[in-house]
Symmetry: C2
Subunit: 206 residues, 2 copies
């Protein structure tokens, strides 16, 4: 791409560094900003830089937070003995949206992935193991994605806390509510039969 302006080229280059944004999309976005008021660009830039430079993570669960303890960890009504282990803050948001969970979280910040050069020391596993050792947690719920990396991470943590007094569980895998059986993949369908629940249990809504 030949640009008529170095400033434009630079802005498009920086924009195209974002994941999933190619050069053409970046150009479209930058030209859109040029058509809007200068204030909009300033607001976008400052929102990003302020977030990036002052971002804080909850010292307990490692979720992004504006305060030392995030709202969930600071909430005395949440059950601190039940901890849900997730990869990412998006998973926290997804689970919170269900309104079904009253425990706390632990955000790992990713999963073990040798292919991407992410080892256990890059995640917040040590801090999780520490919390378990202090004996205040009764149950850990693993809610990582069911991929090779997710399973590896689950297993690594499981090994680290072996022998400590804590129950572990993983979220149920099965056919999604509203899905047709005939379109489900075999692994999911197989697991949903193995892990069937008593009929009365399936009627619970919370």
């Amino acid at each position: 791409m030949e640009f008529s302006s170095k400033l434009l080229e630079n802005a498009v280059y920086e924009m195209s560094q974002l994941p999933g944004i190619g050069k053409r999309t970046a150009l479209r976005l930058v030209l859109h900003l040029l058509k809007q008021s200068e204030r909009q660009t300033e607001q976008l830039s400052s929102a990003l830089t302020v977030l990036r430079s002052t971002v804080r993570f909850c010292t307990n669960c490692h979720n992004i937070s504006d305060t030392e303890l995030c709202e969930i960890c600071a909430n005395p009504k949440r059950d601190g003995t039940l901890v849900c282990v997730v990869e990412d803050i998006r998973d926290v948001m997804a689970i919170e949206n269900t309104g079904q969970y009253r425990g706390k979280y632990h955000v790992l910040g990713g999963k073990i992935s040798p292919m991407e050069g992410i080892g256990p020391q890059d995640l917040t596993i040590a801090s999780l193991v520490n919390k378990v050792k202090q004996g205040e947690i009764n149950e850990l719920i693993f809610a990582l994605s069911s991929t090779m990396e997710g399973d590896t991470t689950n297993f690594y943590i499981f090994k680290q806390i072996e022998g400590l007094e804590v129950r572990t569980s993983t979220i149920a895998r099965g056919i999604a509510v509203g899905d047709e059986l005939e379109y489900a993949d075999e692994v999911t369908l197989g697991r949903s039969i193995l892990n069937r629940v008593p009929f009365e249990g399936s009627l619970r809504t919370n």
Copy 2:
């Protein structure tokens, strides 16, 4: 979406103001920036604000430019008597990429669209008519998109310069090179037959 941090929410909100970027994509992009070095966010922000605050448009063709006259307008080898009228700077880039065009451009900045509240006064039509009136242009090539809005804009400009000494043409519409006839739409195929060119002409490559 419930955010654990106001700063995060604000950054996601600003990002989702960009066209084609929803809340989820915005969150993904912002979280990506948080995983990168602080410098990357700074570079993105400053590239955008610098561009937006110091952007200049070529005084002749209204293309984005770092100088008063853009490189194309300032180039004495380009034929100033031939002017290609386009909507957008992306169209200039697309035509420049072909390497086939040695004339200059006139960037309208959009097309007349009553639905979006864009009238002739929002575009650089007056400046184009002025240039034509000065009598230095022999031919205007309309290269707008062949939509209702594009046709309206073409016609509006055509009416404005009626009676002035200038030839007008539009780019050829037809079957794209490499396309199969059977998949072409009727309008395009019909036009490509009406506007057929002598066989020797079709062998020209520049």
